[in-house]
């Protein structure tokens, strides 16, 4: 009896087409088509299928959702969850096994600061790396530098790490030559 108050369940064989609005948690085991607006949590269970524009506070998807989901707090796609559509929410959780196709918008993401830091770091790394090529200290600097560059421009980054092995090869050749002359 207690569970009946303040919780709405859409059973497996139920189809609701149209608009659904409410201020309480909603569990969908059946089908809902149209628009779905809640001020609380929507749970789409594995048997549930929602083909709707969804606007909620929290959304947990363990079933199928086709349509755009806007959540004021979070959207979680569980292992069984399948979704096609766009997500707009400050927190989006997609676990391993979930399938999703669409765009995700987490709002204002502070990417600007990180980018400028990377760009500053790159010119610093290059001058150090190039002159150090013939000398031994080069490999110590290398591992950090190529990773950063690879993210943005793969081609120049790949070309440079290929160079350092050359001196090693040269050294080995010299040794072989020395061995031959002794014999």
């Amino acid at each position: 009896m207690a569970t009946l108050d303040g919780s709405t369940i859409i059973g497996e064989s139920i189809l609701i087409s149209g608009s659904l609005a409410g201020d309480e948690d909603l569990t969908v085991r059946g089908r809902v088509e149209g628009t779905l607006t809640l001020t609380r949590t929507l749970v789409v269970e594995p048997t549930g299928m929602v083909k709707a524009e969804v606007q909620v506070k929290n959304c947990v998807i363990a079933g199928v959702v086709v349509g755009n989901v806007t959540a004021s707090e979070s959207v979680e796609i569980t292992r069984e969850g399948r979704m096609v559509g766009d997500i707009a929410a400050p927190r989006v959780i997609i676990v391993d096994g979930a399938s999703f196709r669409g765009r995700i918008d987490m709002g204002e993401v502070d990417v600007g600061g990180e980018r400028s830091a990377r760009e500053e770091g790159r010119p610093m790394a290059r001058p150090v790396a190039r002159p150090s090529l013939p000398s031994r200290p080069a490999p110590a600097v290398k591992p950090a530098e190529p990773r950063k560059v690879e993210e943005k421009s793969a081609a120049p980054a790949l070309a440079r790490p290929a160079v350092p092995p050359a001196p090693v090869a040269m050294g080995s050749v010299k040794r072989k030559v020395l061995v031959k002359t002794k014999k």
Binding site: G6, T8, G11, S13, G18, L20
Partner: protein
Amino acid sequence: MAGIEKASAPRSGAHTVIGSSIVIDGEISGDEDLVIQGTVKGRISLKESLYVESSGVIEADIETANVEVSGQVTGNIAASDKVELKADCKVVGDIRAPRILIADGAVFKGNVDMDVKATKGK
């Protein structure tokens, strides 16, 4: 008496509950019991029982096997088995069912048709 019956028998089979703060505008269809505590506008068609609780408000045509109304219904009700209007309910619309029960205290305005087969024949 009636409250106890309602609480035990139908609830075990009722998987679907439309809570009191929920508003549905559209169509509901299904093969299972449905309990409505909220608001539904549009159309309801079920193969099982519909329970409109005291907080429930329906502005829709209803087509089910059984209907039990404790809340408000505006619209026509067609049941293949039974329609029960409980005390304190308010129903406006036509009712068509082989068995119709109207309890003392129920408010009802509309036509009642119990002889389903006869009307079909005419």
